[in-house]
Each structure stands twice: as structure tokens, then as C-alpha cells.
Assembly symmetry: C2
Homo-oligomer: 207 residues x 2
DNA sequence: CCTACCGATCGGTAGG
DNA sequence: CCTACCGATCGGTAGG
């Protein structure tokens, strides 16, 4: 009732008064991306942030809570990137252009922008079932974006009509999500890869 | 000089005089496939085989030696499966049929036959650099098989000619190697998937 | 192939 | 957010 305490004030005046949670998640994403679920320790994360391991629990309830948060943020970042790319397209853009733009956005998020995105991919398989379960709804929502893109392609007859739409979507996601295994920034241009992946899938309309 | 010892004889007469190394590798492959590198412990492997953890070192020098052996066996099994499928094709088979047969063989090895193959994929990313380095030559040799398949497709103009052969090969490997993430034996038919993946990549000749 | 064990490390907690 | 610590577990080794 007598105003802010000294510690609250000094916290406000720190050079980088960033959210402690976000700082921890940033470090966790970076380490998870490179080491995977099991090899990422709370001590690694704490050291990267400049605090002690036990202090992590001041911000998060468990390691798995951190991993789940990173994974969900990761998927949401790709999804935002893809949505932004799609809505930035001119109204005249057809399904083929939308496909290429979506692939480019996904690859940029996965290979460049976001530790969160690649951490999510890498840690997902190792993570305990509880973490995977927590992450599944967000993933499903993102996959629905691709189902929509592919459905438009099918309707416009821009893809082989004897391949089920579901298989098509999974094939596209496979090409993209496998790319961290071989992508080298000094040897590949992401926009070129996006164009190539789109070209592999697309057919010119038979009209 | 005085003949086989009792223990040698009794070993010969055991019900399953299998190579101890192979038994351990089989168990390791199965556990690695499900748990990945870090979460697979020597104690798990030993328990699955019915021996004690320390006894593993009677057969292998280290955990990493086991993992490296599983990974290399895995790649070699896919490669053998693909080679067998290709050489089983009639001489009249063209590059398109060879592609579909190779995809089918790869998917069968990855999704059905071999714990080794999927263990190799799953453990490769987590494994320490030393293990990855040891596994790389075998992988390169297998990728060369795909480079050959794709080169034949390019020469026969059965694939989009504005996509580099290297990208095409990586896209195909991506579709296939991502499939363990979504494949469900009760919902997908492997040969159908192989046909669909081939159809995505193939163009009818413009002749 | 076993017993017995080491040193290191981990996620997490108590009590400030 | 820290110190100090726990119980569990891990890869690996000594010496049979």
C-alpha cells in the first residue's frame, strides 16, 4: 500500500527487463534444437541464462513444461509465418502461387528464423508421451492449414488426381520437415528450394 | 590339444546358440527405434537380452559401438532391400517402374521389416558426433543409389526438368523418411503409398 | 558372463 | 532467485 518496493523499481530499471520466462524459453529452444529432448538438461538451460538450475523452478513447474511450451510456440510461429505469407499475396494469386508461398514460409521458419520451430521437430519424437500429447492439438491445427492448401490444389486440378489429398499433404510436409537433415545455408537458397518443391508437386492444368 | 572343453560343447548344444552380439544388436535396435539414442540405456538392452548391464562389455566396447553397429546395419538393410527389388524387376522395366519399386522397398524396410532401419533414422540426430561420423560413409553409399535412380529419370525426361536432380533425390528421401511420423499400419498400405509418392514425382514424357 | 561398485549427472525439492 | 542437497540413474570398470 505504500508504493513499489525497491526491488520492484530496480527490476523495472534493468537494462533488459525481459520476461524471465521468455529468456528461459529462448535458451531452451536453442539447446533443444541442437541436443534434442533427453540431452537438454535444466543445468544447460540455466547456465545459458545465467542463473542456477534450481531457479528454473521459480519460472516453470518442470522440464516438460518448458519443452511443451517451446514446441507449441514453434508450431505457432510456423503457422503465423505461413498465414502472413498467404495473406500478403495479391488477391489474384492462385492455388499454385499460394502453395509455393506457404512452402517458402515454412522453410524460412524451419531453417532460419526460429529455434523454436526446429526444436519442436527435433524434440517431438524423443519427448515423453505426456509432452507429445500436450503438443498434439496445436500440431493438428497447423496441419489443417496444409489440408486447405492441398484441397484448393485438388479442386483446381493442379496436382495428380490419382493421389489422395492426405498423402499429398504428408508428402509435402515430409519434403519440408526432412530438410534440416541436409540443408546447408551456404549451399541452398530457400526460395529456390520452395520453388522446386512446389514444381515437384504441381501439374499444369489439363485444360 | 585334447579336444573341445565341456563348456564349448555345451555351448554348441544350447537351444539357441545364436551369436551373442547379434542378440544384443537386435534388442538394441528395437529399443533405439522407440526411445532414441539418449533414452536407450545399456541396462535396458541387457534386461531385454536377459543378462546384466556389465556383461554388455563382454561383447561390445561401448554404448556408441552398439549404436554405430545398429545404424550401419540399418542402412545396409534398406540398401539390400532396394537392390534386391531393383534386380528383381524384368529387364524391360523403365526408370519409372524402378523408382516405384525402390520407394516400395525403402518404405517396407523402414516401416515394417527392420528395427535397425528406423532405429538408425531416429538415433542419428541425437547421437554424438563421433557416432554420426562413423555412420556417414555407409549413408553416402546408400544415397548414391538414389542419385542413380534420379539420374535415370532425368535422362528419360520423366521428372520436371527445371528441378535439380539433387533436390529431387532429397525430396523423395524426405517424403519417405518422414513417413514414420504419421504411418499407421491399419490406415495406410505401403505399396499404395509407394505408387502415390512415385506419381507425385513422375511426369509423362513430353514426347 | 556376474557382482559390486565408482564418479558423474540428472530432475527436482527444502528452506530460505 | 540461491544454496545445498536428495534419490535415481547412467556408462563404464575391476576382478573375478
Amino acid at each position: 500500500m505504500d508504493g513499489a518496493s525497491a526491488s520492484e523499481v530496480s527490476r523495472d530499471m534493468e537494462a533488459a527487463p525481459r520476461d524471465g520466462r521468455r529468456t528461459i524459453l529462448d535458451a531452451a529452444a536453442r539447446i533443444l534444437r541442437h541436443n534434442g529432448y533427453k540431452a537438454t538438461t535444466l543445468r544447460d538451460i540455466a547456465a545459458a541464462v545465467g542463473i542456477k538450475a534450481g531457479s528454473i523452478y521459480y519460472h516453470f513447474a518442470s522440464k516438460d513444461a518448458i519443452v511443451a511450451a517451446v514446441m507449441n510456440d514453434g508450431v505457432e510461429r510456423v503457422q503465423e509465418g505461413v498465414s502472413r505469407a498467404l495473406s500478403g499475396l495479391p488477391a489474384t494469386a492462385g492455388p499454385a502461387e499460394r502453395l509455393e508461398a506457404a512452402i517458402a514460409a515454412h522453410l524460412h521458419a524451419l531453417l532460419e528464423y526460429s529455434d523454436y520451430t526446429s526444436a519442436g521437430l527435433k524434440a517431438f519424437t524423443d519427448a515423453p508421451e505426456a509432452v507429445r500429447t500436450a503438443a498434439r492439438p496445436v500440431r493438428k491445427r497447423y496441419e489443417a492449414v496444409w489440408d486447405g492448401i492441398v484441397a484448393d490444389l485438388v479442386a483446381a486440378r493442379l496436382v495428380p488426381d490419382d493421389v489422395p489429398a492426405e498423402t499429398l499433404a504428408l508428402a509435402i510436409l515430409g519434403m519440408m520437415n526432412w530438410s534440416p537433415e541436409w540443408y546447408r545455408a551456404d549451399r541452398h537458397a530457400i526460395d529456390r528450394l520452395a520453388r522446386d518443391f512446389a514444381a515437384i508437386v504441381l501439374r499444369r492444368p489439363a485444360g
